[in-house]
Amino acid sequence: MNAIALAPATSLLVDFGHGGNSDAFTREGWRGGEPRHRWSVGARNVLVLPPLAGGRRLALTVECDPPHPPSVRQDLALEFNGVALGVLQPRRGVPQRFLLPDGLVNNAGDNTLVCLNPQFANPADAAKVALAWRRLEVAPDDSTLFDQPELLPELKDVAAIPLQAVLGLYQSLGQNCELGIFQRRYGAEPIGLLRFTSIFPDRLVHGLRAGFAGVEAADQLSLVAARPGGELMGRQASYGLSYHTFKLEGAVDVAAMKTKEAQRLGYLARLFVEQLENDEKIFVRRGDFEAEGEIRALHQLLRVYNPRARLLLVQEAAERAGRVERLAPDLYRAYLSSFADPADVPATIAYEDWLKICATLYLDQAALGRVAPA
């Protein structure tokens, strides 16, 4: 008799309580059911889910509590079908949601969720139980980012804001040097790998996935002036970085500078990853990443480093200049009257718009307790 192939599930609910259905999905790293939950055990916990229907965006929601009383902080790194999905920071009674990117879901075979918990602990319990899992759900995500963006209160007077401190909160994700030059104008000099850099969207995605590992390779770096005596531009091949050095050809020893530049890029990459992991900055991308899927994917990439990663997308729309919208938790969009002219960036930056945007979002973050109040 031929086996009957079941259609892939369009949604799935795993109930980890006693009498629930979690036995069908748990593999290594679990202990028997409690009345309302199941303990994960050890550093690696695996769930195997059935085929899931593709063609729609899916969201994975986890309800998972730390032990009570809390012993040590336990953050889970989640991998779905071998791809890093993000970090789950268990909080009692707070479901946590992860979008499953297009193409990641397997509709013809099993889907594997691996939870890595290197800090697993419950010192009072020799069984090394870690976290109390209550529910896991996979369901279609029909929400759109643009349905009802929340407009942040518009800041009228930027004069009272300590600009250097405020502007230092923002870190460019490349595209060009406009944000970096704007920050410099007001004395803010945040350290950033991509601050004065141009990087195409696909290379940014690649860099974020790789943590810009190997960016310091000297054979991938060149220093080139567009014209004799002009500014030397750095070109890093493996990640497609193109950046200002603010040094003129002829004024420096290019060979020596190249050695130092390679070292500097490696160091900046280390700091960049640290900033991502420690949620130290609001990351800003200007111009591209307009479609919802692109925006979600970029934010998700940042959230792999820290689940609370903040992303600000800046677009051009004169009628909304200076406004900031919250599209989703930790995801913002703002508007300039116009982008700077690449031929003369410093002279054509919409400084007032940038000031309003940065100050408005800073105050919003301060109200949320995400930064020290100005």
Partner: protein, 81 residues
């Protein structure tokens, strides 16, 4: 304090190498505004050299907070303690 004085002396030598200028004299108050060429790129070069010399490591937050030679001396001293 004795060690901080030594660190200041060592940093002076380091800055002279990095800036290729034997005339540089550092005080705790010396900052980028006082030293032509101490831009953000040079700042990273200085930090890298300090980390290598003293076998220490600064965090991203610490690097951004280091604005003067005095800041550098205090941070190095704290790391070496």
């Amino acid at each position: 304090m004795h060690r901080q004085a030594d660190i200041l002396t060592e940093l002076t030598e380091l800055f002279r190498e990095i800036f290729v200028n034997d005339e540089i004299t550092l005080t705790p108050q010396t900052s980028a505004a006082d030293l032509p060429g101490w831009d953000s790129m040079k700042h990273i070069e200085i930090i890298i050299a300090i980390e290598q010399k003293y076998a220490i490591r600064f965090s991203s937050r610490q690097v951004e907070a280091l604005r003067s030679v005095g800041d550098l001396v205090a941070a190095i001293d704290q790391k070496l303690t």
